[in-house]
């Protein structure tokens, strides 16, 4: 086995034939997902479930009816934003897994800020909440970026620890200083009020978070692939030494990317409050941050690809209920399938450039 190829992995691929490479970039993960679905079908067959039933119900639960689409998109909304928390710093070669913590801090600060300006017109309250949420989430991850750059602290471990710390702070505050005494058996902050909720997209019946996610993903894509800033980040991610030689401000890039990623997760936290929960409580830590990591890796850290991948995973989540109710499969089926897909897609990384079909068109 050879090991030297690692460095030229991503850069080298796009140089040759762009069409073949792009086709490969889409085809391989799709193939991996198909393989994972077949493996999962075989797995449930061991327990006496007909895989065809499985696929039928999964399709029905995720995409089969208008309601299923609503279900899927609702679940996908926070995932796009939390995925960006991993995907943006990943341009610099960093593995950030702190989306959960950034989401929690974002939601918490958005609530606090919203409550502080409660009397203002709804649009102002919502804006203040969004800004506070993005700032809080952004600073939370930028802190990890700063630790990485100035102290050499590994960002994977620090963001992991920050997740636990954020959840502890959340619980401490909503059961103490921020608690609404009327939130009897579910300790929560005061409500931001019905009038300040951002509501649903009228014709779709899904909350506005999905649109925020799509816009954020498109902006992130433009930033990464169509600006000098993004190019600088990608150069630094590919080769840190080269980046320093050409004089890129690596520290600023690290801080900025971490801040932007965290801000996206923070916005997801704000949306969770302003579109779903109305008040901050322990329900904010629902694992969207962790699923976001999965989305980012399946999207190969490409911000734009985070959208369809989040919808795919939202669909798997949406179909989970039907699998429980119709096929008697445990709720953990969703986790098992996600795990298999994740492993398959990662393992498929090794096949880049190995299939002749993608190379035949090249000159």
């Amino acid at each position: 086995m050879t090991f030297a190829i690692e460095t030229k992995a991503i850069g080298g691929r796009l140089v040759g034939d762009r069409f073949g490479a792009a086709a490969e970039l889409v085809a391989l993960p799709v193939l991996a997902v198909v393989v994972a679905l077949i493996v999962f079908g075989g797995f449930v067959a061991l327990f006496g479930v007909n895989p065809l039933d499985l696929y039928g119900y999964m399709y029905r639960g995720a995409f089969g009816t208008f309601f299923s689409w609503q279900n899927t998109l609702t679940r996908a909304a926070p995932l796009i934003l939390t995925a960006l928390c991993t995907a943006l710093p990943a341009q610099l070669g960093m593995v950030v897994i702190g989306g959960e913590g950034a989401l929690v801090m974002g939601g918490l600060c958005a609530t606090a800020a919203g409550l502080a300006v409660l009397g203002a017109p709804p649009l102002i309250v919502q804006l203040v909440m969004a800004i506070a949420g993005m700032l809080a989430g952004g600073l939370w991850i930028a802190f990890a970026g700063a630790l990485r750059h100035y102290r050499g602290v590994n960002e994977t471990i620090s963001t992991l620890l920050l997740n636990y710390i954020a959840i502890a702070i959340l619980n401490h505050l909503v059961e103490g200083a921020m608690r609404d005494p009327a939130s009897l058996n579910k300790p929560s902050s005061y409500s931001i009020g019905d009038q300040n909720m951002i509501g649903l997209i009228p014709w779709l019946g899904v909350h506005w978070g999905i649109l925020f996610g799509v816009i954020a993903a498109v902006l992130a894509y433009l930033l990464v692939f169509h600006t000098t800033f993004g190019l600088g980040a990608r150069i630094s991610g590919g080769n840190l030494r080269a980046a320093k030689v050409v004089g890129l401000p690596v520290g600023k890039l690290v801080l900025a990317m971490c801040f932007l990623g965290g801000a996206c997760a923070g916005l997801a936290g704000m949306v969770e409050i302003a579109a779903v929960q109305e008040r901050a409580n322990a329900n904010m830590a629902a694992g969207y941050g962790y699923t976001g990591i999965l989305v980012a890796f399946l999207a190969r850290q490409n911000p734009l690809a985070c959208i369809p991948v989040a919808i795919l995973l939202g669909g798997i989540g949406a179909s989970g209920g039907l699998l429980q109710r119709r096929l008697g499969l445990p709720d953990a089926s969703v986790l098992v399938l996600q795990g298999i897909i994740f492993i398959a897609v990662l393992a498929s990384d090794t096949f880049y450039g190995r299939f002749k079909i993608f190379q035949t068109n090249s000159a």
């Binding site: 994977t156 619980n171 059961e175 999965l294 890796f297 994740f342 393992a347």
Partner: protein, 309 residues
């Protein structure tokens, strides 16, 4: 029974001591296993999944066979298999070991919950404890000194690993793979094979740690069983500077920290138990901030490790 109130605040250190011994064992085994894996140059973040999956398997085997020791063995083997999967996938070109770890964490937890549903209700035989506190007339101390054999194995294992890594041929090869894959290859060793063995051994140890959760303390199987001990143990290895003996002391520290919150409540210190619960995470982060430096890699860090490069 001695009057509890006469102990006063001594209840706290005794509880922390007992908690350290009770709660630390999974930390100890996972961190020793992860220590081995990381010294070979690879990080396995999937040990949380390994821990949960092997806790379930260990409990199931103990329930079906009636022998908890068979359960421990089965848990270890499960861990080794998951470690093997990690190593094989990471052995492929261009595959990121951190991502594979996260994937296996998800997969291990999911599979454990999936297969473990029928095991939530049954009561399996659990591991016995050895009574080291028979001499004490203070019941609290007596009970803190009821110690499980697995903990004792861990106590022996930590220095044994220090010695093995330092002084055996096997340890030298493993460390070489961790410090410089090229050097290991130049000597004619397959780096992949070395890391496969290290990750499988690490998985085995983590699996044994998982069996401690389900077969001794708390001693049952349910879906909330781990609450992050596996992933904490990975952070703990960095805290312990890849030194098995330090892993041992750090595990005791983290275990004691888990007992601190309830013990403080029992002597009327009731403020902020959520924050006390997160104390190990604050502590690890603080230590990392204090001891890391951008100019050099961490003392003791294997040079091939992706998280320190």
């Amino acid at each position: 029974m001695a009057d509890a109130s006469s102990l006063g605040f001594w209840v706290v250190p005794i509880a922390v001591l007992g908690g350290a011994v009770r709660v630390s064992t999974p930390f100890l085994f996972v961190s020793l296993g992860e220590c081995l894996t990381e010294r070979s140059g690879r990080i396995n973040l999937g040990l949380e999944g390994t821990l949960v999956m092997s806790a379930m398997v260990g409990y199931g085997v103990s329930y079906l066979s009636g022998s908890p020791w068979l359960g421990v063995l089965a848990a270890g083997i499960t861990g080794a298999i998951l470690g093997g999967v990690h190593a094989v996938i990471c052995g492929l070109q261009r595959v990121n070991d951190i991502a594979v770890g996260i994937a296996l964490m998800l997969f291990g937890i999911g599979l454990a919950f999936y297969l473990g549903k029928p095991l939530i209700q049954p009561k399996a035989n659990i591991l016995p404890a050895i009574d080291f506190g028979w001499w004490s007339t203070i019941p609290q101390l007596h009970d803190a000194l009821k110690i499980n054999v697995l903990f004792l194995i861990g106590v022996v294992l930590a220095p044994a690993l220090v010695w093995a890594l330092k002084s055996t041929r096997w340890g030298l090869i493993l460390r070489t793979a961790g410090e410089s894959a090229d050097a290991a290859r130049a000597m004619g060793y397959s780096v992949n094979r070395i890391r496969l063995r290290a990750t499988m051994t690490g998985g085995f140890l983590a699996g044994v740690g998982g069996s401690f959760l389900s077969l001794y303390y708390p001693g049952n199987w349910n879906e909330g069983l781990s609450s992050g001990q596996g992933i904490t143990a990975v952070a703990l290895v960095i805290f312990a500077r890849w030194n098995p003996m330090l892993c041992f002391w750090t595990s005791l520290l983290f275990g004691g920290a888990a007992a601190l919150g309830p013990a403080l409540q029992s002597v009327q210190i009731t403020w902020g138990y959520h924050l006390f619960g997160a104390a190990p995470y604050f502590l690890t982060l603080a230590i990392m901030i204090i001891t890391c430096s951008p100019k050099r890699t961490l003392v003791g860090a294997p040079a091939e490790l992706s998280i320190t490069k």
